[in-house]
């Protein structure tokens, strides 16, 4: 062992590259790459958030003359009124950017890169070059998806799910011209980038853990990253395959998703010889392939948030996480089940009713491990002593959203009830609370908590708390009422709901939601200010400002190139040893040697 420590101390003399471009731009250091991912995701979030504001504006006041916006965005407005094609583009790009380029990126690629080597006790990721390449591939994807706003026919407009034939026939909607092509290209970049990241995550976690850090001593954040990486590696290829087939259908006349006998604008799609251009393809095939990815993808967004939340709650409740093993098993169960529930997105799609039954079973089952997580969090908080830091507030926010958003899933999972609720705002409420909300709050919590390991400083607490309260209240204000209008039948992806008599009475609620959404959007300024101000001017953080236990808190803030100036610490226990009466203080870090009478964890 002494030998190993000596060898490791020797390695630490490897110096970081000195030139700015190699150190901060084309870096191979996981911490720099993490910040690159994080800041890019923030920028993408800003854009996707603005798109959502425009969607909300339209839903509340579709008749209003927004001349000033028309001047600002001439492509989207005609004499102050939004074009339907612009509206379709807005919700499509909002969904695509948020799901892939923000909420998969910030928690997984951002915090995964920052935390995995630090929590594992590794000097870097297993493949640092691949890691850097992954970021630049991701950035290409961002550039491509953003560039689609500037093509003449507009960005993709077939919804983030890109169901063919709408996404396959150029004449079906303007966005299905160049915009959809760019959408597919951006997806391919994203998937390639995510795959490189996934290879790194799994290899690092399996191969490069510090001595003594067994799998069941890993922080729950690391467990979530491990599962997420596996989900990504196994699920994303389905979207790659589907996208490739869609490219062939769109550009080379094949018929994977396109059936015979299509008639567009009263013109049959046939060649001069009277034969149909397409034969026998199945639009449902795309839905199966898409949701085979799509559902695990939902958990790719959520699992990291569940991991962050567990770690943050344990630290600030000053209590070990309750039921550590059942927490791990619950995440494994959620990840496993996520592969057999995709059909619950397709209850009314026309697929076989027997399949519908099978998918309802898996969907209802997934509620069991989810409930276990909530109860474990509540049990962790019971008889604790909570320090209400900003990070802790966000973590409690995740618990709250996980309860509120999870329960509506039980309604949607029952196939027959989904007949009424499918494609209504009820679904929008459900996934914004549980998937988007939990992921977003998780990222905010993680940012406040691990900010010292990014920039060596602490974020401003009063500003952070103000940001939390504005966001918490308006997030619920925005998304909770969508349950009610959803039950009333309010459709999603609809340019002007008030064309329908049965939706006209819901205008007041829509206006309330929109005002709430605008305040929610504005509140995020607090975060941006806090983030950039604190990154440069915040209070200096020591090694371990929160009295936490993980390996990331055993090195300086921010950690040096190579993460530990000397030898890598050796792990003796789990990361949740808080408030043990037998211990010398209220927390015992993972690398501290065993104390007298310590239970084995």
């Amino acid at each position: 062992m002494a030998h190993a420590a000596e060898a490791q101390a020797g390695e630490a003399h490897v110096h970081a590259p000195q030139a700015f471009i190699w150190r901060y731009v084309f870096s191979k250091d996981h911490k720099v790459i993490a910040i690159q991912y994080y800041v890019t995701a923030m920028f993408m979030a800003l854009i996707a958030g603005l798109l959502a504001m425009l969607v909300r504006l339209q839903l509340a006041w579709p008749e209003r003359d927004n001349a000033w916006l028309g001047n600002l965005l001439p492509m989207g407005f005609q004499s102050g009124v939004m074009n339907p094609e612009f509206y379709a583009m807005l919700f499509t790009m909002h969904g695509t950017i948020m799901v892939f380029f923000v909420l998969s990126t910030a928690p997984v690629s951002g915090f995964g890169n920052l935390l995995i080597p630090l929590q594992a006790g590794a000097r870097d990721m297993a493949f640092p070059f691949l890691n850097g390449l992954s970021f630049w591939t991701f950035l290409c994807g961002c550039v491509v998806i953003l560039s689609s706003f500037f093509v003449a026919s507009g960005a993709a407009a077939a919804g983030w799910t890109s169901y063919p034939p709408l996404s396959a026939l150029k004449g079906a909607i303007p966005g299905s011209d160049m915009g959809q092509t760019l959408w597919i290209v951006a997806m391919v970049f994203f998937i390639a980038s995510f795959t490189m990241g996934g290879l790194n995550f799994v290899t690092t976690i399996l191969n490069l853990r510090a001595k003594g850090l067994t799998m069941f001593r890993m922080p729950l954040t690391m467990w979530s990253m491990f599962l997420v990486a596996i989900l990504g590696l196994l699920a994303f290829p389905a979207l790659t395959a589907a996208s490739l087939l869609l490219v062939f259908d769109r550009h080379f006349g094949t018929s994977f998703f396109l059936p015979a006998g299509l008639v567009l604008n009263n013109v049959p799609l046939m060649g001069p010889d009277g034969a149909f251009l397409h034969q026998g393809g199945s639009p449902l095939l795309w839905q199966h392939l898409f949701w085979f990815l799509g559902h695990p993808e939902v958990y790719i967004l959520m699992l990291p948030a569940l991991g962050f939340t567990s770690d943050i709650i344990a630290t600030f409740a000053r209590k070990p996480i309750f039921g550590y093993r059942s927490m791990v098993l619950a995440m494994v169960a959620i990840a496993g089940l996520s592969f057999v529930v995709w059909g619950h997105h397709m209850f009314v799609s026309g697929m076989s009713p027997y399949l519908g039954m099978a998918f309802a079973v898996g969907t209802i089952l997934i509620a069991v491990p989810s409930a276990v997580k909530v109860f474990n969090w509540l049990a962790t908080l019971y008889r604790s002593r909570i320090r209400f830091t900003t990070a802790m507030l966000w973590a409690l926010g995740v618990v709250s959203l996980f309860i509120s958003g999870g329960l509506s899933g039980i309604l949607l999972g029952q196939g027959a009830l989904d007949i009424h609720l499918h494609d209504t705002m009820f679904v929008v409420a459900h996934f914004h609370l549980i998937m988007a909300g939990a992921a977003l709050f998780g990222v905010f919590g993680a940012t406040a908590y691990w900010f010292p390991k990014m920039f060596g400083r602490l974020m401003n607490e009063p500003l952070g708390k103000a940001h939390f309260w504005f966001t918490f209240v308006t997030y619920y204000g925005t998304f909770f009422p969508m349950h009610y209008i959803g039950i009333a039948g309010h459709l999603r992806r609809i340019y002007d709901p008030y064309q329908y008599e049965f939706l006209a009475p819901l205008k007041g609620i829509n206006e309330f939601i929109t005002v709430s959404a605008f305040i929610l959007g504005l509140s995020q300024i607090l975060f941006f200010v806090n983030f950039f101000w604190s990154a440069f001017k915040g209070k200096k953080a020591g090694e371990n400002p929160w009295d936490a236990n993980g390996l990331e808190w055993t090195t300086s803030s921010p950690p040096p190139h190579g993460n530990w100036p000397g030898a890598i610490p050796v792990v003796h226990r789990w990361p949740y040893e808080y408030s043990n009466p037998a211990a010398p203080r209220d927390h015992v870090m993972q690398h501290e040697p065993p104390f007298a009478g310590e239970p084995r964890h």
């Binding site: 390695e11 640092p128 799994v202 590696l233 196994l234 490739l244 015979a260 034969q279 026998g280 392939l289």
Partner: protein
């Protein structure tokens, strides 16, 4: 020369652990012992896992699509049998090369490495010729779903094979420089990928034309 090779063998026995890039022999050994082998090997297997899932996706699409009414089976182009022989022989040649290398005969391995590459290129060329032969008979990409799947699946396989050929270029130059350590399985990683491609091709052949 033998002394130098021995030196390398000794240096190698320590094994590459930890990050493959800037940390040289860095990182730390895994605590469980078992899996803490070469991270590159694990990474490669994970990559093969994700490629497998890609073809699982295609397979499910293929099986669904085959059940539709407009399915007209495509007769197998005879050239494919020769291509199959080439890719299997290429894998075989690579195995012989690895045996030579492991048996302390790096020089004897060189022709077999060449054979691996030539057979691999022959396979690739053969696949393109098979496409051309089909097109000449009027079987285009969009003619029928079986054709479409044939082109897409063989094309995707060929893209992965092209990546393998690039890697082969690296292997070849290292073999020619005698940079591999005798007694060690320096070609192991590449062989894993190359055999995977051969196996994948056999699977595709069975999927497309046998079952």
């Amino acid at each position: 020369m033998p002394g130098e090779i021995l030196e390398k063998a000794r240096a190698h026995a320590g094994g590459p652990r930890g990050p493959v890039g800037s940390w040289g022999g860095g990182g730390s050994a895994g605590p469980d012992g078992g899996i803490a082998a070469d991270p590159r090997r694990l990474g490669l297997w994970l990559f093969l896992g994700t490629v497998t899932m890609l073809f699982v996706g295609f397979t499910s699409a293929y099986l669904v699509r085959r059940a539709s009414a407009d399915w007209r089976p495509l007769a197998i182009p005879a050239l494919l049998w020769w291509n199959t022989a080439a890719i299997v022989a290429s894998s075989g040649a690579l195995e012989v090369a690895r045996r030579r290398l492991r048996g302390w005969a790096p020089v004897g391995a060189v022709p077999w490495v060449f054979a691996t590459g030539i057979l691999g290129v022959l396979f690739a060329v053969g696949q393109v010729l098979a496409w051309r032969a089909l097109a000449a008979r009027g079987f285009y990409l969009e003619t029928s779903p079986h054709n479409s799947f044939f082109y897409v699946l063989t094309g995707t396989h060929l893209v992965h094979l092209a990546g393998g050929l690039v890697w082969f270029g690296v292997v070849l130059s290292r073999v020619r420089r005698l940079a591999y350590v005798p007694g060690e399985d320096g070609l192991g990683l590449f062989a894993t990928y190359w055999h995977f491609l051969a196996g994948l091709w056999l699977y595709l052949l069975v999927l497309l034309f046998v079952v």
